[in-house]
Amino acid sequence: MIQFSSVAKRYPGGHEALRDVSVDIASGEMVAVTGHSGAGKSTLLKLAAGIERASSGMVVVNGQNLGALGETALAILRRRVGFVFQDHKLLYDRSCHDNVALPLRIAGLGREEAARRVRAALDKVGLLARERSNPVALSGGEQQRLCIARAIVNRPSILIADEPTGNLDADYARAIVDLFVSFNQVGVTVLLSTHDEASLGRLGCRRVALNGGKLAAP
């Protein structure tokens, strides 16, 4: 489903975030990327989602070599990948409903069908009652769940989450982890990063450890 072959990522300015990383993630698998802050976890996830391009090596998602895709094709690929951002990336000038509806609007879904799916996604993360609220009015955990609702609303086959349990207390973190487990159980390929041991234990999935941008010995 997702293959990294000798991938390196160098940012403008020379910082090398990833070096010679090769990882295979099978369809329907759940994988946790671990490592200390600055190890390259976020970069790896962004490369898998087509948000950034590798400097060298090859990233293949769903059989498509991302390096060979043009800007437009890459954008269209991003529509099929759900991404939960570490900093949420919610829009605070609109309701929870409209935030979750954004990917559907981009995909050009009709208003009624979109509303139906948005409500289903909000229900899934337990935020249906807050549909008309502004995200500002939500707690950190609720904002995280709103972000998850937005990531799954388009029914992606791949769900990627960058530190979804970061800054959350244990109860909230547990609920979030259970959500990802439930998505994985219905066949969604899940790739998430975390450095929280409790969450890792609860996920009970394969781990890919990064250290200084390289794969750490297993």
Binding site: E71, K89, D93
Partner: protein, 302 residues
């Protein structure tokens, strides 16, 4: 999703953005409308002058005055010589008695003329000529001055040529104004759209992360720019027409005092349409440039 549906959604989004900031959108449209109205007003003024000038007989005429002592025989001979000239299109004889009668009828000199014991006016020919070129008219004058008993040859249509040149000068001035103000409109729209883009910066970034293509991001802004230009163009034509109607009322009151008829000429429908659609096009162009610049800056790719 069909192309038409994409654009319909983008148009709806553009209208939503208009509605979200009614005051700012309104001011922007008024600023643009004033910029567009200026050359429209200038075009109307020039047309009005042109129309008044068209009412004046500007066909080139040359007057040939005969000597006072010219006999009927001489008159006939000169007439034939003039008619035979290849540059003469039409030759009209004005007998001295008729000239005097016309002068008495059309001027306030009747009393003075009545005191004269004899007619001071000569026989004359008015010749409509086929050219206005200075050199050829000069040749005509030389040729015809040589005809015996011809006293004077006057080509008094230089003023008509001058009027034509003034109108052409006005047209050029107008073209320059269109160019400058058209550029201004594109830049103003570009700037306004750029502000719009900056306001929607976060939405654009998140949309791109969620899979919006550059075209998806651009589309509502293009509609916004085009609609803004279209409304401004319409308002500009309305402003100019209102102004023309208002000044036209006074101008009509003045008209009887002058030989030429002065009246305000409105832009014909086709040109009105051109102004409105042109403004929409400039709005579109401005939006395109502004969004392209900002898209490059916000590019998700490293």
């Amino acid at each position: 999703m069909t192309w038409a549906r994409l654009h319909l959604l983008a148009l709806a989004e553009a209208m939503r953005r208009f509605a979200a900031q009614p005051l700012a959108s309104g001011f922007s449209i008024v600023v643009l409308a004033i910029a567009i109205a200026l050359p429209v007003i200038a075009a109307m003024a020039l047309r009005s002058v042109g129309a008044a000038a068209a009412g004046i007989d500007t066909d080139p005429h040359v007057n040939v005055y005969l000597a006072l002592d010219a006999s009927d025989e001489d008159v006939k001979r000169v007439g034939e010589a003039l008619k035979a000239h290849p540059e003469a299109a039409q030759v009209r004889f004005i007998p001295r008695a008729q000239a005097l009668a016309e002068l008495k009828a059309t001027s306030h000199l009747a009393e003075i003329l009545a005191t004269l014991d004899r007619n001071p006016l000569p026989h004359a020919y008015t010749v409509r000529v086929r050219t206005t070129a200075a050199e050829r008219v000069g040749n005509l004058r030389t040729d015809w001055s040589k005809i015996p008993k011809v006293d004077q040859v006057l080509a008094d249509f230089e003023w008509a040529g001058r009027l034509g040149r003034w109108v052409r000068f006005g047209n050029r001035l107008l073209a320059a104004a269109w160019l400058l103000l058209g550029g201004a409109v594109a830049f103003i729209v570009g700037h306004l759209i750029r502000l719009q883009v900056l306001t929607h910066r976060q939405e654009i970034e998140v949309s791109q992360l969620m899979g919006a293509t550059a075209a998806d991001v651009r589309r509502p802004f293009l509609h916004h720019g085009a609609v803004q230009g279209f409304l401004a163009g319409g308002l500009a034509v309305a402003l100019a027409s209102g102004l023309a109607a208002w000044t036209g009322y006074e101008l009509r009151a003045l008209t009887p005092d002058y030989a030429m008829e002065l009246k305000v000429v409105f832009l014909p429908p086709m040109e009105t349409l051109t102004v409105v659609l042109g403004a929409a096009g400039l709005g579109l162009a401005g939006a395109w440039i502004a969004v392209a610049r900002e898209l490059k800056r916000f590019s998700v790719k490293a």
